[in-house]
């Protein structure tokens, strides 16, 4: 099977095993610029592994992943790291904010890793924090803000480099429904405004509802879902 034409990021026949456990067993995936795709499935089905493979964090055992026409497998670790710094953004459920840095420093961190000066990086970070309605928290540390606020800071950090693909792994998993919905609204609005593609891993239907398309992963195999409109 060849990836759909115009795909920004596509994967074919992905296989990945952790010891005797087959996390991915011939999974497929594709996403277009500006598209929001929800990857759904029960716990342990392989959806996070799919996200890690797509983002170049974990190399698959076999199969192909192309980003913008380039094969990820042919890239070195440093090239994949550079890709993640400049082209991708990430939001995780836990552990993504550096506790010792202030919120604005956390948001500015990816830019600084790319070599942007501190002043410029923090100015850009503040802009994104405003868009995500957390600019009043700029001087606070992650330990001093609520879970929902922290997750919005994390979204700002994921978007600050202007990524072409945003990977979100259970971004509302640790939030109550109200906060979760607000985070999703802001995340998808911001992504659409920059034409960024969003790979949204979730097991919650209400979160998946923010996507344009859904893919279900079960026993390491992926399947496109028909959505009733």
């Amino acid at each position: 099977m060849t990836p759909p034409s115009g795909s920004l990021l596509a994967a074919e026949e992905l296989r990945k095993a952790y010891g005797p456990t087959m996390a991915l067993d011939g999974a497929h995936f594709s996403i277009h610029p500006g598209e929001v795709v929800a990857v759904m499935g029960p716990s342990g089905s392989g959806k996070s592994t799919l996200l890690h493979c797509l983002a170049g964090i974990v190399p698959p055992d076999s199969g192909s992943i192309t980003y913008n026409g380039a094969e990820l497998a042919t890239m070195s670790d440093a090239q994949r790291s550079a890709l993640r710094r400049s082209e991708f953004g990430f939001v995780f459920q836990f552990g993504q904010l550096v506790p010792e840095l202030t919120c604005v420093e956390n948001v500015a961190l990816p830019l600084r890793l790319n070599g942007t000066s501190r002043k410029e990086a923090e100015r850009a970070a503040l802009g994104w924090m405003q868009r995500l309605e957390v600019d009043d928290l700029s001087k606070k540390r992650p330990g001093e803000v609520s879970g929902g606020q922290g997750q919005r800071v994390a979204v700002a950090r994921a978007l600050v480099t202007g990524p072409r693909v945003l990977f979100a792994d259970e971004p509302t998993g640790a939030l109550d429904s109200l906060n979760g919905e607000r985070v999703m609204e802001l995340l998808t609005e911001a992504a659409r405004s920059t034409n960024a593609a969003v790979v949204l891993v979730t097991h919650e239907a209400r979160v998946a509802a923010y996507s344009d398309r859904e893919i279900v992963v079960r026993d390491g195999k992926s399947r496109d879902m028909e959505r009733a409109v």
């Binding site: 440093a78 710094r85 550096v98 600084r112 890793l113 540390r141 001093e144």
Partner: protein
Amino acid sequence: MSARTWARDLSLGARFAVTGGREGWVRTVLTAVGVGLGVALLLLTTALPSVIGKRHDRDDARTDFTFSSRKDIPRGEDTLVSAHVDTSYHDEEVRGRLLQPEGPEAPVPPGLHSLPKQGEMYVSPGLKKLLASKDGALLRERLPYRTAGTIGDSGLMGPRELAYYAYSDDIARHVGSDGRVARIKQYGDVGEAQDDEGLPPVLLLLILVIFVVLLMPVAVFIAAAVRFGGERRDRRLAALRLVGSDGGMTRRIAAGEALAGSVLGLVFGTGFFLLGRELVGSVDLFGISVFPSYLTPSPLLALLVALAVPAAAVLVTLFALRGVVIEPLGVVRTARPARRRLWWRLLLPVAGLAMLSPMIGKGNENGDFNEYLVVGGVLLLLVGVTALLPWIVETVVGRLDSGGVAWQLAVRRLQLSSGTAARMVNGIAVAVAGAIALQMLFTGVQDDFTQDTGRDPSRAQMEVDMTAPGKADLVAGKVEERFQRTKGVAAAVALSVDSVSERRKDPELSSDITVGTCASLREIADLPSCHDGDAFALPAPSDPGQGPGDEVDQLLKPGLQLYVDPSFSGSPKGAEVVWKVPDRLPVVKQRHDALQNEIWGLLVTPSAAPAAALPQMSGRVYVRLDHAVPDATEHVRNTAAALDPFSDAWTWVSEKTSDQYEAIRTGLFIGATCVLALIGASLLVSQLEQLRERKRLLSALVAFGTRRRTLSLSVLWQSAIPIALGLVLASVVGLTLGAVLQKMSQVPVQIYWGSVLSMTGVGAAVVLTVTVLSLPALLRLMRPEGLRTE
């Protein structure tokens, strides 16, 4: 608050320590390993009196020559003649004894079942191994005996000691005439107890300070170890608050967790100690080896350790938690904590200095150091380091800001938890401060314990003193020739030396007579012309402090009748050879670079010398080595042993330090090695624990593209910044304490920057090593697997 409530909460905490799943176990085991290392070192310290005592007892039990054995013991069925024939081999001392039994009931040395027979020797296991090795080839030449058996443990000071007992049938005739040969009836006759003058006050001061300096970092480390994994534990405690425990109960539960870790640490420590005890037999540290059985902790001190360590764990935890707010929902307050106060931290070192000040100037008088004030003062000064360091780290890192990402991550981390960083470095800062102070004191008082040997190693590198057979050949030049033919010898000069006096017995005046060829005598004095048959007068230096002066000069008169080797009441009879000073006796001056600057009196060529006295004279051969030849020293020793088994071949040094001073310095080196190893291990455990707590964060940072180099550098900065601050503080406190100790010992206050740099360098090297060793773990923790939740 009832004891029952305390016991209930503590035991609940102890249960949490071991029932918290893998995380809980890892934390408890890390704490236990940390505490265990400290406990092992404390147990080692409590065993020191036993080590010293047992080594002393073993040495006493094999004593074969004492002041009482100088008394005439008649030859009998139960007597044994023993001669000291110690030697050195590759810088290691070899204890050697020649034995000549004089009857069937002759005493047998400890560790032997019977005495060696003709051509036989019994050797220590260490010597046996050395002789059997390729490395021992030259020593085999020196000991031309067949190994008949080994010396048992009871006859040895340590398992690696080099010692032998060999048979000889030719030593009895030297009893009474040679100080190294004695007739004995039993071993272990230490004679009348000699007046124990004790240690000089400065050395006592050194020992006291060494103990404080070495044990203090251990205590600091144990206090840090019981706080391993504190952050994760605090989160768990918050959950307890949620289900209804109050603040006090939460703290007691936390203390219970630490108590469990420390009790397990006691078990681990005992295990480490027993393991180390078994290994200790195969180690030789600075020339000292001990049998495992020597390492028996003093029961009382061991009990004290067993009680103090868990008690300290509980107290430290309660103290550490006093500023932490554990709330049911807010988990733990991780916001910036209240600023540390300086005033009470400064009080500690100031109080320490106040305690030490009355001791100033007591060093070189009758030594009246108040031990409690000294120990208390040093302790307070060093505790001051641990109190001041958190304040300094907090204040300095609070002002740090701009820099790259790695620097920013490190600085922010330190700003958030400067206490953890300071705790990590406290141990090493205390050790370095103490080491600098001790080094200053050591260097300051070194001159008091160092003597000029009067030998110039640039003129000759070895001296062979010969006292028994072979001396007759000395003057004939045969000995000189033998040495000159020896491999590795560039030149050899032989002289015979004895004393002369105006009376046959109990003289009032005495001088030296030195016999040698013209070439040999020219090594001592500037001779205008010289032929065999000439004699010269070499007056003693006029400086009263330099020699016997007039007393020597009165005997340097031509035609005077003198007695060579006079007798003294209470000592064996001398040769009392009558000799007339030659009529022609030119006065000569000592060479400015004389081989030995303590030779004065009469310089005589062989034909002018009293022939009857020559066999009684002591022989000295000065040897210049060809350093290009490997083992030249050992070749010389072999020649010396072949010519005269009683000969003493030794390497020249310009200065010699006191044995007590050397022993204390060796003790410090051994202790410092153990403490630095402990601190290094503790830093590593602590570093790994901190990294483990950040596993998920590290993985997340790598996931969004952070370079591994950036994170590694950040970890290095996190260690380097506090350690740099710690070493600066350690240098200041160390120099202050060193200056005070120098003043106490009445030596001029002098700073030795070399020692400051070397000590801080060692501290920095330990941290760098630990950081490098923790890098593999860091790289492993940065793997994407850390992001997985299933």
